[in-house]
């Protein structure tokens, strides 16, 4: 049984047997004796994507460092809601891992439930960020008020867009679960989705530290 599912998973992923109608998706790792890489196609693409997103925020960071050194820099206070939002986002990473643990134990209902919880926590985070913007605006702090506030609005906005991408990916993983596309060995969309989710989560912690602790 175990062996069979493994074989099936291999075929679904294109398999090493690249001529069996799976198109160019075959030859994972090139099948070259020396250079074979046991990495799934999606994983390479995902890591490349994370690298480019990292560079995007590195670009913003360098701008932040330069701008922070100018004489008109006035820090804004942390909107209190951010602590709560951060807690929401961190717990979403935990619930996502809980979901995945249910997949390993093959309890699909629980898996779906926890995925939904994760996605809702993500949406709640985004809603919370919007409220934090409102909170600042209520104090008279707007986008052009000071360089710090400009960076705050821009960076939280760009981050939220990336998290929204994560929510969409999560929905995709959920649909896959609904359609019974997972087997105990084949659950790549979920694994990829989780890597991305934790990355965006970590990105927020980084931004939070940069904006308010440094």
């Amino acid at each position: 049984m175990e062996v069979l599912t493994k074989e099936k998973a291999k075929l679904e992923r294109g398999g090493v047997d690249f001529d069996k109608g799976s198109g160019g998706l075959g030859g994972e790792g090139g099948g070259s004796p020396e250079g074979a890489l046991p990495i799934h196609t999606g994983e390479i693409g995902l890591w490349a994507l994370l690298a480019t997103i990292t560079m995007l925020f590195a670009g913003f960071t360098s701008a932040y460092v330069v701008r922070r050194a100018s004489s008109d820099w006035q820090p804004i206070a942390v909107p209190s809601l951010l602590w709560f939002n951060t807690a929401l986002l961190l717990s979403s990473s935990v619930t996502l891992e809980v979901a995945r643990s249910f997949l390993k134990r093959w309890r699909l209902e629980a898996l779906k439930g926890w995925l939904v919880v994760t996605a809702l926590l993500g949406m709640a985070f985004i809603a919370g960020q919007l409220l934090a913007w409102r909170q600042l605006a209520a104090q008279g702090v707007y986008l052009p008020t000071s360089p710090h506030s400009s960076f705050f609005f821009v960076l939280t906005g760009v981050h939220a867009v990336h998290l929204l991408g994560g929510v969409l990916a999560l929905c995709y993983a959920l649909v896959q679960a609904w359609r019974f596309h997972y087997t105990p060995v084949h659950h790549d969309p979920l694994a990829l989705c989780a890597t991305y989710w934790h990355f965006v989560d970590g990105l927020w912690i980084y931004l939070f530290l940069m904006l308010f602790v440094w």
């Binding site: 001529d19 075959g26 090139g30 070259s32 560079m55 821009v154 990916a169």
Partner: protein
């Protein structure tokens, strides 16, 4: 990441639309990219002709042109702001939408699966999406000419504050906004392409195709994809901040105390230099994004037509890796005069000059490959040799510019214009031509006319040098780039005949391209039918039919047994051994 893999069916989709328009076949997408780039190139070329027209006869009255451009050339005289838009859009379109799209997205998509032995790219859907993302970008860019105030007018580098203040000049309004949006579409598309290239090359190589057996073209495209993924985000970040400065009152790039007319702007504290740093952090790798594919094409074409293994393959790969890596630490050489600490300038001088080493290594390896070879001077080979020539000419002027001290008088003069037209524009344009003549039989199943091709080469080559070489003298003579009318300066007026000569050469250069366009479209329909392997070349694409069917190979994928450069192997009857030939078959082919 949403599409983890697209189940790929071996039979081709039937309807015309799925097959040729919204196709996910890498060959169709490659050709779509190529044709888009070619048509954009025609527009960008016409813009250059207008720029040159004005430089030879500044502010002259051309009644006919006045009818064509009622706004920019009212009463037939080119307005300075129209002139600025012209060179801005010429540069932007050429750098991003022609010379990045044609070799990288065009040939990259077409060639990578064929050369590594895959049936398609790793993410065919993403691939189609990337094309349908760049197309709106092209359209937005082109349509900006019709926006209020005309197209963007801050140069292809879009330096702040000119680009960041809406009221600065007419083109800083809607035109600049459209420029930013067009670029965002381009970057999004290029990123999707890059993810696809990296994944495909790492994971979809056929059996036996180790990294050490990849054709140099694939190596170049692999590195280009990585450069694009790591460098473009800096521009994305900068573009986002620029949009906010322009439309939402932030001050990322705008300093205090700026006036437009008599009006004091509310911005304060920003640093225009920040834009330059972010732009050139992308900008310098970007110029190598244009150059590396040309290096790859040249290497493969030179090997084929000199019937010689490429000299020192590992060093060729390593020098490309070195060039790619170094290109991230030299951006400051564009900013020697922007107010930089001399010590930092010295550091950037050193890193810049170090790049000359791997560049020279590549040149000498090409020459060593050619040394005493029996060269077949076909059209693609002529263009490949042209690349080597342009690369040397442009590289040498780069060394002058790279030394901070020598750059002080040369910066922002026509010397720089000469430099980058040789190395970036010229070498990569010739790369596109070389690749087109070489792979056309595979793309369309027909040959291009070789007599016309050679004529095209000689006209282009001679006109190219006579257009751009005299610019070195203009630059040393102090003619600044981006100037509307050099004759307003007394010291430049005596050099005006040179400008007239350059313009006439440029017209010849432009006209010569009509030969290419004619040859291309005529050959698509009427060219001689191409054999499977018309050049007797070794790489895998030549083992597929011309043009290859959907899925590339009718039967099983080829297996690779050797590197791609087994030309003129001693004691073997043919002078080439394709990558898919096994050692046993070679034994059988041994002479005697």
């Amino acid at each position: 990441m949403a599409k983890v893999h697209e189940p790929h069916v071996a039979h081709a989709p039937q309807s015309f639309i799925r097959r040729y328009i919204f196709s996910t076949d890498h060959k169709v997408i490659g050709i779509q990219y190529y044709v888009t780039a070619m048509l954009t190139g025609v527009v960008a070329g016409i813009l250059a002709m207008l720029v040159r027209l004005n430089l030879a006869w500044p502010a002259h009255e051309w009644p006919l042109l006045g009818k064509l451009f009622p706004v920019g050339m009212e009463f037939g005289v080119m307005k300075p702001e129209f002139y600025i838009s012209l060179f801005t859009m010429h540069g932007t379109l050429m750098v991003f939408f022609v010379l990045s799209l044609a070799p990288v997205s065009g040939f990259g998509n077409f060639l990578i699966p064929l050369q590594i032995g895959a049936r398609d790219m790793a993410y065919p859907f993403l691939n189609a999406l990337s094309y349908w993302t760049v197309l709106p970008g092209v359209i937005i860019m082109l349509s900006s000419f019709f926006a209020e105030g005309g197209a963007a007018a801050a140069g292809w580098t879009s330096y702040a504050p000119l680009s960041a203040v809406q009221e600065a000049i007419p083109g800083s309004g809607m035109g600049q906004t459209l420029w930013i949006i067009g670029m965002v579409f381009f970057i999004a598309s290029f990123t999707m392409g890059g993810l696809n290239f990296v994944t495909t090359i790492i994971n979809l190589r056929t059996k036996g195709m180790s990294m050490r057996r990849l054709p140099l073209t694939v190596w170049a495209l692999f590195l280009v994809a990585i450069l694009g993924l790591l460098a473009f985000p800096a521009l994305t970040a900068a573009a986002v901040m620029l949009l906010f400065d322009r439309h939402f009152g932030t001050s990322f790039f705008l300093p205090a105390g700026m006036y437009v007319g008599d009006k004091l702007l509310a911005h304060q504290g920003g640093t225009p230099l920040l834009w330059q740093h972010l732009f050139w952090f992308l900008g310098h790798p970007e110029v190598y994004i244009l150059m590396l594919p040309a290096m790859g094409f040249t290497s493969d074409i030179i090997a084929t037509f000199s019937r010689r293994p490429i000299f020192s393959y590992p060093v060729m790969v390593l020098s490309m890796v070195a060039i790619g890596g170094l290109s991230f630490v030299v951006w400051g050489h564009h900013m020697f005069l922007s107010g930089m600490s001399p010590y930092l300038g010295m550091a950037f001088t050193v890193t810049t000059l170090v790049i000359a080493i791997p560049s020279a290594v590549k040149t000498f390896n090409w020459l060593a490959t050619l040394w005493r070879a029996k060269i077949e001077f076909t059209a693609p080979m002529l263009f490949a040799l042209g690349i080597v020539s342009l690369f040397v000419t442009g590289g040498l002027s780069g060394i002058f510019l790279g030394s901070a001290a020598a750059d002080i008088p040369l910066h922002d003069t026509y010397f720089v214009v000469a430099h980058f037209h040789f190395i970036m524009a010229g070498a990569s344009l010739f790369g596109v031509f070389a690749a087109t003549y070489y792979w056309f039989p595979k793309m369309f199943g027909r040959m291009m006319n070789s007599k016309l091709g050679k004529l095209h080469f000689w006209l282009t080559f001679v006109a190219y040098y006579s257009t751009f070489f005299p610019m070195h003298y203009l630059g040393i003579g102090g003619m600044m780039r981006r100037i509307y009318d050099p004759t307003v300066y007394q010291y430049l007026a005596p050099m005006q005949p040179v400008n007239v000569f350059i313009t006439l050469s440029a017209f010849v250069l432009g006209a010569a391209q009509l030969l290419f366009l004619f040859n291309f479209f005529w050959s698509v329909y009427k060219g001689k039918k191409a054999e499977q392997n018309p050049w007797n070349a070794n790489t895998l694409e030549w083992t597929a039919a011309s043009p290859p069917p959907h899925g590339n190979w009718e039967g099983p994928l080829p297996t690779v047994h050797r590197w791609p450069y087994d030309y003129s192997v001693p004691d073997v009857s043919d002078d080439y051994i394709p990558q898919s030939v096994s050692p046993a078959e070679v034994q059988a082919r041994k002479k005697g």
